[in-house]
Amino acid sequence: MKKTPLYEKHIVLNAKIIDFGGWAMPVQYTNVIEEHRATRGFAGLFDICHMGEIEVKGPQALDLLQLVLTRNLAEQTIGQVKLSTLLNEEGGIIDDLTVYKMANDSYMLVTNAAPKDRDWAWINQIQQEKKFDCSLKDISDKTGKLDLQGPRSEEILQKFTETDLKTLRFYHFCESRVTGFPAIISRSGYTGEDGFEIYTTADVIGNIWDSLIHAGEHSGLKPAGLGARDTLRLEAGMMLNGQDMNESVSPLEVPYSWIVDMNKDFIGKAAVLARKNSGKGNKLVGIEVTGRGIARHEYKVFHRGKEIGVVTSGTFSPTLNKAIGMAFVDIDFSAPDIQVEIAVRDAMVPAKIVKLPFYKRSK
């Protein structure tokens, strides 16, 4: 397994380590509920060094990205972050990634950990075919990334940067310094809370980690593992690549139609349109278990005894104190309040389709 630059910190903190897409990652330090609640109530610090970063630079960088990504980036301003999907020719989702516009001819793509090499190969293949005037560079290994999430994040991070964080808007970033080291501070995240994604070089990420952990002690900050990251993102209605979507799923079958611009050309567009016009297909929905039990990944979903889909993510929600999840179901049974059953071991447990998200922070 690959280790992040923070691996030794996790060992010292007694974290339970799991294999996540080939990476040895902390799933929890104390327990998931505690880390989850710390993030919702105060702040959580997450090692996200496993995610990938790809630089795209050159006069035609935007032309390449407009072709490979579904989101229209024409109006993106320098300092703005945009979420997009990357599709294959069949219109299936290879990855959902964020696009950082660093300058007019310079971008950084932030990819999920598991599909990073696939993204890299696919974007390079298209670049070689189309010969746009731009170059690609995989900077994942030399980049370190931390997510500081939760209502106290701004107050904690402000102690270590000269940037006035109040002026940094949601889904915007700036190139600044954190504890004196050059860093990108992005107001964004994967928990449904206010917070920051911090990028710096791998060799100094440990210094920033230590400073934030130390300073955050009195603000209720806790290191948080992938277990809490998963329950936090699920409550916030955010999908997990490889689990809630994969290369056979169209972005229109999941809550990503808003990042697909049909008014421009992009790889996979014809297939996405054809699938949409067929009127068939599936839809990713929220589910709430109303009976006794917890829906889990790959449990089957039924409607009056007929199989209609499968649970993609499921857990016990620490905020709502009930079992919630996402399921990929036949589009005819995807409307909110439809009663379904989930096969939990030997039992059929009642559940219902609900709107996403499950949790929305108060502003």
Partner: protein
């Protein structure tokens, strides 16, 4: 650190305990070490009363936020009672695995099976070896 394993009962290699009431009935639960490994227990599924189980077969299910784990019956027999409090307060298993967090009572079909289980000292020895 886990709480000490009481001397008044026997243990399975799968981290269950069985306490003999002396009347052919044993109380069964999971050890403190097990609850500590599972961490935040959020759901316990108990068997129907009257269910016949064989030693080593699943008799209950415990779920943490992240995981689903079977509880294996350390003895063979018939389930005569279950701890229904765990249905509404599964965290009792985390708080008191050896006491209020008990899961089922089983009427033994073969009292000799108890002798095949581990003493508290043997169980602790096994935990030490597992850690290495």
């Amino acid at each position: 650190m886990s709480k000490p394993n009481p001397q008044d009962r026997v243990y399975s290699r799968d981290h269950e305990w069985a306490k003999d009431n002396g009347d052919g009935i044993v109380v069964v639960g999971i050890t403190d070490y097990a609850q500590e490994m599972l961490t935040d227990i959020v759901f316990v599924e108990l068997p129907p009363i009257g269910k016949k189980v064989a030693k080593g077969e699943p008799v209950a299910v415990v779920e943490s936020v992240k995981s689903v784990s079977d509880v294996y019956s350390p003895v063979s027999g018939e389930v005569i009672d279950v701890n229904t409090k765990l249905e509404t307060n599964p965290e009792i298993v985390n708080q008191d695995a050896f006491g209020d967090g008990w899961m089922v009572k089983i009427r033994l079909s073969d009292a000799g099976e108890l002798k095949t289980l581990l003493s508290a000292a043997d169980y602790e020895q096994m935990l030490k070896e597992e850690k290495h």
